[in-house]
Subunit: 199 residues, 2 copies
DNA sequence: ATCGCTCTCTACCATATGGTAGAAAGAGAC
DNA sequence: GTCTCTTTCTACCATATGGTAGAGAGCGAT
């Protein structure tokens, strides 16, 4: 077959993010992935020697993508904590809504083997550390509500990923996924977080 | 065999909540469940004719339990919205921490078949409706921050279940699951939500 | 005793799944 | 042309899984 090098591999990764993040790692078979990509299962196993290593690659890529998006948002935002929070929310909200599986995959981590979870935790820790340090400093300066910075990071994370990955919760309050609905959801999410963080 | 009627059935349900909620429905086999309970797989299939119907029963029971806990907490709390929110958080926090799988199972719903999700949504909707109506009324009275009541319910739900079901997120901020750590987590969670809801 | 009912088990089965072995097919180097 | 390298495929395999069939064990009623 003639394809540009890496194309197949990239397609497999992309499909895997969607499937793993959407249905959960265990619920997805290599045949499912191959079917979406349009190749034979063996082609998947050619690029990734086992389902487990495919998962590794998928996690690594997702972490990189999200980290890049967040980095860019923080860099572009003014140096004011509430504005930065808002910038991060806006930056994450768009890809999260477009591809719910992205954050779904992040959530899936807690169900995976301790090794996978550990690896990703280590991968993300420097970013988290920087975030908590920043919050701590801004809390001390009185620009954010006094609280445990680490737990506040976790809580904000839980709110954002939770709302983005649980259509069921939104369906229960009869929320509509229209453009207007999305705009309102983003505004409410931002307001919710800002209210929780304001001094 | 001689056992009190319902004992085996109840044990199967209990083990299934933990396993489905902890690892995800697809990642759990009937043999896994039978192994935990200490019976043969066929015994599981005697009480629940298929894995799918077992899931139904597990969801139904979990929903009932949680609903009862929340009902009782709301009833016991004074008629003041912030106090009620705090009461619900406290009521849910204890079982959620003791058995992370409980809320993990609730979260699992979004990965299940639309039929299961739909059924549970309908089951829960009256409670949700009452909650949003209550919030709306209290917002109008100025005792809560003005916002979309439905989305606020979803956001609060996302925060609580998110933080309770993602040990990974807490591990990333180096949180310790000691008694003191748990107390601090509960306090921070409560403060976070109250801050987000206060007028 | 034995019939009937409830509950649990052993024995199997069809299918799906992750993974191995190796063939084929294209394309560039010589 | 042919050799070699890369990429994809067909053919299989061992195992795990959800589920069926039916036997056996305990126990109360007659």
């Amino acid at each position: 077959m003639v394809t540009r090098k890496g194309t197949t591999r990239a397609s497999i990764l992309e499909a895997s993010v969607d499937l793993f993040g959407g249905r959960g790692f265990a619920a997805v078979s290599l045949d499912d992935i191959a079917g979406v990509v349009g190749v034979a299962k063996q082609t998947v196993l050619y690029w990734f020697p086992s389902k487990d290593e495919l998962l590794d690659a998928v996690l690594e890529q997702t972490a990189s993508e999200l980290a890049a998006v967040i980095e860019a948002a923080v860099r572009a935002a003014p140096d004011e904590p509430l504005a930065r929070v808002e910038a991060v929310v806006n930056a994450v909200f768009r890809p999260a809504v477009r591809r719910p599986a992205l954050l779904g995959l992040v959530r899936e981590v807690s169900r995976l083997s301790p090794e996978h979870a550990e690896r990703l935790t280590m991968r993300v820790r420097p970013f988290v550390r920087r975030a908590t340090d920043y919050l701590e400093q801004e809390m001390a300066a009185g620009r954010l509500r006094q609280a445990d910075p680490g737990l506040v990071v976790s809580l904000a994370y839980a709110t954002v990923t939770g709302i983005a990955t649980e259509p069921t919760a939104l369906a229960a309050v009869e929320w509509q996924g229209t453009t207007a609905g999305l705009r309102r959801l983003r505004r409410e999410l931002t307001e919710f977080l800002l209210a929780a963080l304001r001094p």
